[in-house]
């Protein structure tokens, strides 16, 4: 899907004062794997949230597959799934099965169709044995896989992930990364784990609200490392 960001600026209200977190951002992206890196507060999470209309630009426009996130928010969210850093905040139902099924409500599916889709998704993510377990008793990695399964069950065309491995240990981070690598759909991955970007088609580097580098993973990661090393 084509992501179009046209001259976007986003300003947060910071106690009455405006704080600009993204400035004059323009880009086109339709690659299969797009990475986003940058220091904390660089604007990368805001960029991710712009893509499914969680955040609307203060100025400019964001379109996904030709749909404006401000005017067609509902249609955009049906096509763009979003995975957050903290799965505990994303899991909204008490048990694993119920949480995966949550995204399928109001989709006009019968109970059997919902069960079928949920079972397939749990199987695919290695969660079948935990289907009726309380979500809060899962490990961190399993929770993130559940959060992922709960998004993917709705069949999005684009998956945006905001630092999905930041709270995980190396083994669980690798597990989530392997799962993401196998996904057939387009992915935008915001991360601090630079090794996850190997094999990506394109990596964007953000710094202080601006896109400062846009290119292949090796060059982009090199640019980002140099940027961080230059900080006082």
């Amino acid at each position: 899907m084509l992501i179009e960001v046209d001259d976007v600026t986003h300003v947060y209200d910071d106690g009455g004062r405006g704080r600009t977190v993204l400035e004059d951002l323009t880009l086109r992206a339709d690659e299969h794997r797009i990475g986003v890196v940058g220091a904390n507060g660089s604007g990368k999470s805001t960029f991710a949230r712009l893509l499914n209309g969680l955040v609307l630009p203060t100025a400019g426009a964001v379109r996904v597959d030709g749909l404006d996130t401000a005017d067609d928010g509902r249609a955009v969210r049906r096509r763009v799934g979003f995975c957050f850093t903290d799965p505990d905040a994303q899991i909204v139902m008490p048990t694993v099965r119920e949480d995966v099924a949550f995204g399928l409500r109001r989709r006009g599916l019968t109970r059997d169709e919902v069960d079928e889709r949920v079972d397939a998704m749990l199987e695919e993510h290695g969660l079948s044995a935990h289907a009726d377990h309380p979500a809060h008793l899962l490990s961190g990695g399993q929770k993130q896989l559940l959060a992922l399964a709960s998004v993917l069950v709705t069949g999005p065309d684009l998956l945006v992930m905001d630092e999905p491995t930041t709270l995980l240990d190396l083994r669980n981070a690798a597990r989530v990364a392997e799962t993401v690598a196998r996904l057939p759909l387009q992915v935008v991955l915001v991360t601090h784990h630079l090794d996850l970007l190997a094999g990506f088609d394109r990596v964007l580097v953000f710094d202080e609200g601006r896109l400062v580098h846009d290119g292949a993973p090796d060059a982009a990661v090199g640019h980002y490392r140099a940027l961080m090393a230059a900080l006082p």
């Binding site: 979003f82 505990d88 994303q90 008490p94 119920e98 009726d132 809060h136």
Partner: protein
């Protein structure tokens, strides 16, 4: 994270698992209302027997039942002592017995029924309130989120308490309450954002 059993539906195929959630909730409601008029030890014993039989039929392990009852034991002991002194042992048995029986019955219902099935019943029962402007599906989601949030908030409280101890502030209620409230509100914010991302309002 907490070992809370809240929301701990135990999968099974017993007759109680297969019984519609509405019937189970209705039965629990009837027992609760009926308990108001329970005055004699025989009825109390019958109610307790129903609760214990329910747990046996649902094949709930004794350890799970004890975990459910543990928080209640102090209250039950205080109530028992009070009533033995004030109104006699028979009244003490009725009051504490009815309380325990209702908790056992509630345990049977929650352990044999998925939260979504319970929420569906509430949404169905509250259906007519749509006509006065109540969003009953939102009400159902609120209930499910409430159940889901309990272990999260308990987990946050444990983290705050650990941080408090690490900094030598073990006896300060303010140092406990303020960060817990702040973190809970922050969590609520993130849940709200996640619900929006998952199309709650779509």
């Amino acid at each position: 994270m907490s070992g809370s059993t809240l929301g701990l539906y135990r999968p099974g195929t017993t007759v109680l698992h297969r019984l519609p959630a509405g019937v189970k909730l209705g039965g629990l409601l009837a027992a609760g209302v009926g308990s108001i008029w329970t005055r004699d030890p025989l009825t109390t014993s019958a109610l307790l027997a129903v609760g214990v039989t329910g747990l046996a039929v649902a094949r709930v392990p004794a350890g799970v039942v004890l975990r459910q009852l543990r928080p209640l034991l102090v209250l039950a002991a205080v109530l028992a002592i009070f009533h033995v002194v004030v109104s006699g042992p028979e009244r003490a048995y009725v009051v504490v017995g009815v309380l325990l029986a209702l908790v056992l019955l509630a345990t049977v219902v929650t352990l044999t029924t998925r939260t979504t099935a319970l929420v569906d019943v509430v949404v169905r029962v509250a259906g007519p309130l749509r006509h006065v402007g109540l969003d009953v599906e939102r009400l159902g989601l609120l209930l499910a989120l409430g159940v889901r949030s309990v272990p999260v908030v308990i987990g946050l409280a444990e983290e705050v308490r650990d941080a408090q101890r690490a900094r030598g502030l073990a006896a300060s209620p303010t140092a406990f309450a303020v960060p817990l409230v702040v973190r809970s509100l922050r969590h609520a914010d993130r849940v709200g954002e996640a619900l929006a991302a998952r199309g709650l309002d779509d």
